[in-house]
Amino acid sequence: MSDMVLDAASAMPRARRAVSTRIAGAAILLALVAFAAFGPLLAIDPARQDLRNMLAPMGGEYLLGTDHLGRSILARLAHAARLSLGFATLALLAAAIPGTLLGVIAAWSGGWIDRALSILADMILALPGLLLVLVLAAFAPGDIRVLFMGVSVALWVEFFRVARASAAGVLASPEVEAARLLGFGPAHIVRRHVAPRIVPVLATLAAFGVGGAVVTISTLSFIHVGVRPPTPEWGNMIVELLPYFEEAPAHALAPAGCIFLLLIALNLLAGQDPR
């Protein structure tokens, strides 16, 4: 009894802290999503060059200055945000939906279906994800469709494995055995027993999946095998602005700041230690 009292007392501030970090994460993410959604509508054409105003400082005529070709950095960041977030969201959906469904199906049916799917997943996991994406990128360097395919192929396995393991744990538990004995069918078992367990885990995975996808495309652009200039993309922009670092250090770091903010927001939202 005394233990319960003490636990409840110490759990209170921890739970409150967890909620407030999630709210902070959601707020930052929402701001970035709004920037990606509405920024391109309001700001100037990201390709328009103002040749009298190259490397303009921040806070002048251009809020975040201009790059070496006199293009608005704010406009380019907004378009890049739209590209990255749109890409990551679509890649996430393309990975999470089949991954989760197949994971639950594998856990439910067991037998050869489970074994075949698990072998397929192990095959894809044999190579680190970025390596797989890189090799696939060789099919058409710079083509975003190939990157999309690579990222989704690497990511669905994560959802498959997590969904399969969590679902298998629940399906083998006494609560599901009891539900079956009580005459409940698959729909009820998935809704009442499986879904409440796997949804929080998958939500965390989704947050890390989005972050991973954004990092992957910016990394690939940075090493010249991803999206190519003049398309505004965060990794691209860093490459383009880096030679002018001494004159305009903040310009080169602005895209990195966007990536940093996004990852921090997703981390806070997931409410997990960074792993």
Partner: protein
């Protein structure tokens, strides 16, 4: 070496939890504290040991020989651990380092606490373990390779190694089956001859076996204390009487099934397990309407497997199972750990409503059923984790009774409950057996419980 507790109180932020407890123990005169979960008995041991959770503080006097423990600075109390006071943890197989062999876990106490040379420490540890019946083979194993009883004895040897003469044993029979419990009682009794033993338990049989003084605790107070035989045979306080009466050996005998009752489930020539480890073979079993058949035996003997085979949850390796009716939902099961048998995120109202909808049972049938099982309707809006184990097990019973079962497999259904709660749940189950003609297969590791409620009793052993 004697322990004297005078007017001990423990207070937390919400006020007093233990109220003025006074007790004593000495070598040859062990002390046993009994009471249900939350009665505060573990806090008394923690106050003696000096391990009260942060935020709780003790007042009063606790004297070990000439030493007043409560006024001692914390570092000095730490200095007594192992050397003068030892604590035998509950479920000792969890308290041994999983990555170290058993022998060295005793040996290190002699080496590090008593500063003995390595060779002397090894000899000393071997001697201590051998005295408890553990040879070289057992001591070179890792904890996960030891049986519960062996792990228990390794832990006892470790508590003795540094010379402690006060042994606090916290729920030492938790998780042990009956044979191991008797073995433990013998070990503790032998230890009590030379050392002062204070045991915390809710196991009346253990208290009886240990002898010495028994003190009964309820809501932070000692309500009755005295010589074990006296307190347990002629209890004066109402709570002690309930506690003693809750011991299955005191229950009224079981009613046989009415003559001519139909067989609801029967197994013929059943065998389960694999070739390498056959659990049982050529087993015949019948459960008739209106009777309880008990199955008992040591852990790992295949009790649960037998029940699952009768329910059709698994296919036996050999033999046939015949059920009196085809509808599978009239054959149900109660689980050992009630919270594990409910979806944790749905309220009990939702759980029962889902079931009623699935089987077209009118909700009006539920209220009287809950009343019959002494469950308050207010509990319906709680989650399974928010009510007590006894209440949840009664909800589990209500849930299966809604389906008018013919056969119920109760798998250790009361073994995680306090004795009084166990009796309450078991009485309700027995009433249903008589009223509805329910056939029950009760799997339990407690022979006394099996004898008390069953008309027939199947003992399974471990086949060689």
């Amino acid at each position: 070496m004697s322990l004297l507790i005078e007017d001990l109180s423990v207070a937390g932020p919400q006020g007093r939890i233990i109220h003025g407890v006074s007790l004593s123990a000495a070598p040859g005169a062990p002390l046993t504290l009994i009471g249900e979960t939350g009665s505060g008995k573990s806090l008394v041991a923690a106050a003696v040991m000096g391990t009260l959770p942060a935020g709780l503080s003790a007042t009063g006097r606790v004297r070990l020989e000439e030493t007043e423990l409560l006024t001692l600075p914390p570092a000095a109390r730490r200095g007594l651990w192992g050397r003068r006071i030892a604590l035998l943890p509950q479920e000792p197989w969890l308290s041994l380092d999983p990555t170290m062999k058993a022998g060295p876990q005793v040996e290190e106490v002699l080496g590090l606490v008593r500063d003995e040379a390595p060779a002397a420490a090894r000899r000393g540890a071997t001697r201590l373990l051998a005295a408890l019946g553990l040879g070289a083979q057992a001591t070179s194993r890792y904890p996960f390779q030891l049986s519960g009883g062996m792990a228990q004895r390794v832990a006892i040897a470790a508590t003795q190694a540094a010379g402690a003469t006060l042994l606090l044993a916290d729920e030492p029979t938790k998780g042990l089956d009956e044979a191991l419990r008797d073995e433990l009682a013998d070990t503790l009794r032998a230890r009590a001859a030379a050392a002062t033993v204070l045991t915390i338990t809710h196991d009346i049989a253990l208290a009886r076996a240990l002898g010495g003084t028994v003190a009964v605790m309820l809501e932070g107070r000692v309500v009755e204390s005295g010589p074990a035989a006296e307190v347990l045979d002629t209890p004066r306080h109402a709570y002690t009487r309930r506690l003693v009466a809750a011991d299955p050996s005191r229950w009224p005998p079981a009613d046989p099934a009415p003559p001519g009752a139909a067989t609801v489930v029967s197994g013929r020539g059943l065998a389960c397990g694999f070739r390498a480890r056959r659990l049982f073979s050529d087993l015949h079993i019948d459960v008739r309407a209106g009777e309880i058949v008990a199955v008992s035996g040591p852990s790992g003997c295949g009790k649960t497997t037998l029940g699952n085979a009768l329910l059709g949850l698994m296919r036996p390796a050999a033999g046939t199972v015949a059920r009196s009716e085809a509808a599978p939902t009239r054959f149900q099961k109660l689980y050992q750990d009630p919270p594990a048998a409910f979806a944790p995120h749905a309220t009990l109202r939702t759980a029962l409503a889902d079931l009623a909808r699935r089987h077209d049972v009118p909700w009006a049938r539920i209220a009287p059923l809950l009343a019959r099982l002494r469950l308050s309707p207010a509990l319906l809006d709680r989650l399974p984790g928010q009510i007590s184990g006894g209440e949840l097990q009664r909800f589990a019973l209500a849930r299966v009774l809604l389906l008018d079962p013919l056969f119920l497999f109760a798998d250790e259904a009361t073994s995680r409950l306090d004795p009084v709660t166990q009796q309450e749940v078991m009485e309700l189950l027995r009433a249903q057996v008589t009223e509805r003609g329910l056939g029950v297969l009760l799997v339990t590791h407690e022979t006394a419980l099996a004898k008390a409620v069953a008309v027939r009793h199947v003992m399974l052993g471990v086949e060689p």
